[in-house]
Assembly symmetry: C2
Homo-oligomer: 272 residues x 2
Amino acid sequence: MSADPIDGFLAFAGMLADSAAHVTLQHFREGGAVTDKSSNAIFDPVTEADREAEAAMRRLIRDRYPDHGILGEEHGNEPGTSAYIWIIDPIDGTRSFIAGLPLWTTLIALNDGTRPILGVIDQPYLGERFTGSIKGKAELRTRDSARALRTRSAVTRLKDAVFSTTSTEFFESAAEKRVLERLVTGARLVRFGCDCYGYGLLAAGFIDVVVEAGLQTWDVQPLLPIVEAAGGAVATWEGGPAQQGGRIVAAANAALLAEVLALIKSTISAPR
Amino acid sequence: MSADPIDGFLAFAGMLADSAAHVTLQHFREGGAVTDKSSNAIFDPVTEADREAEAAMRRLIRDRYPDHGILGEEHGNEPGTSAYIWIIDPIDGTRSFIAGLPLWTTLIALNDGTRPILGVIDQPYLGERFTGSIKGKAELRTRDSARALRTRSAVTRLKDAVFSTTSTEFFESAAEKRVLERLVTGARLVRFGCDCYGYGLLAAGFIDVVVEAGLQTWDVQPLLPIVEAAGGAVATWEGGPAQQGGRIVAAANAALLAEVLALIKSTISAPR
């Protein structure tokens, strides 16, 4: 594949992010309270913004690339006739969105049938857009600047690393809880609550390792081309490919990834 | 006290926040990595920005109100000859600052010798400034808007509430860990990682209850006039006055505060 199609796809991905932002920003912090549809059901923070933003992106994709497939959180799988599949999540971090926190993101990836070839993590309230592709370039654009993204290559030990995860809730089993405890006590600095925005900060060299559980394929595929082009490494807790989601480690470099994978392995296999 | 002095003090507090922002924004995300001064010592994320921003605020206060006292995290207590004391924390959430997250805040309160009479929570990267005073008015100013702050009065039960706390690390004892566990499992929605920005979102009606431990007086005094003017209620875990910091609950209304205090009491006193 030549360089040109990816640049064109990246520009189009930016248009998708813009179209989602147009919807999400109208709803973010609207009113100040979200109606709980059913207080007896498990709380499901899917908002109107989520559905509308995904529908807007789907319309653009169908118009521009009618042969491409689409996979999204809200409206499911829409197969195409070519190998390309757009993977979109209009609002990752719906809980942050509901709580008024500007750390939710719009996630976009383009998969060529074998792997994600580009990714976008967009936070329109902050005006921040992280992008990356298999061309090996990742960048962060803000309202008034653009900078190349680079992970911290020198931070190869957990004890020197900034560790982030979203919430204790996603570590469900006793073994998973032990993993979280060892990461919290072993890292130099801990930050909770980032959702997929944390992978942008990892690519930017501020966070060094993100460990999560329960990720979906549409959460993971957009961040892979960004983190990897910035010098980072991503794998499942078992060290396998991360594309399909599940339990994921993203690290600033391969050495740090290896240390964290070893910690996870020894923690999970330890007898209690 | 008439209304006029508080308005004047509030305008001056805004100038203080501006002077801090001038310093902090120069350092936020500067370089992309913070040098660890001593990797063997306990990590202390006090940055140059913290010290410089506090020094800038102290200069302004000494100039304008030479008889007022100053209490700050970085440069200690500077007694005045009047009852007034400015209580300032240039960067609350230094860990967020280091990790590149735009949720750190500059905190400012003016205490009249008996209580904080005004407070500011400022996040200059977002361009958001939460203010409140004992005049009963609280507001959020952004770059292009201003809105009155109001907590959610209808959310009086934890099961319906958005709960927030900064990190599991601040719940140190076994009893404190049990309190956190009950709050996480009992709330409708959980968000970690907000530091004092979370109290601004509580005043704005997005978060309903914040429970923390280990707060300092300079963390608490700035948020009290904001949360209370917006309709919220703040107390220690034991139900006492919150001014001096420690273990704190802030809630959207008195009923929710009472439920959470009861939960804490029953959890801490429960035999294990």
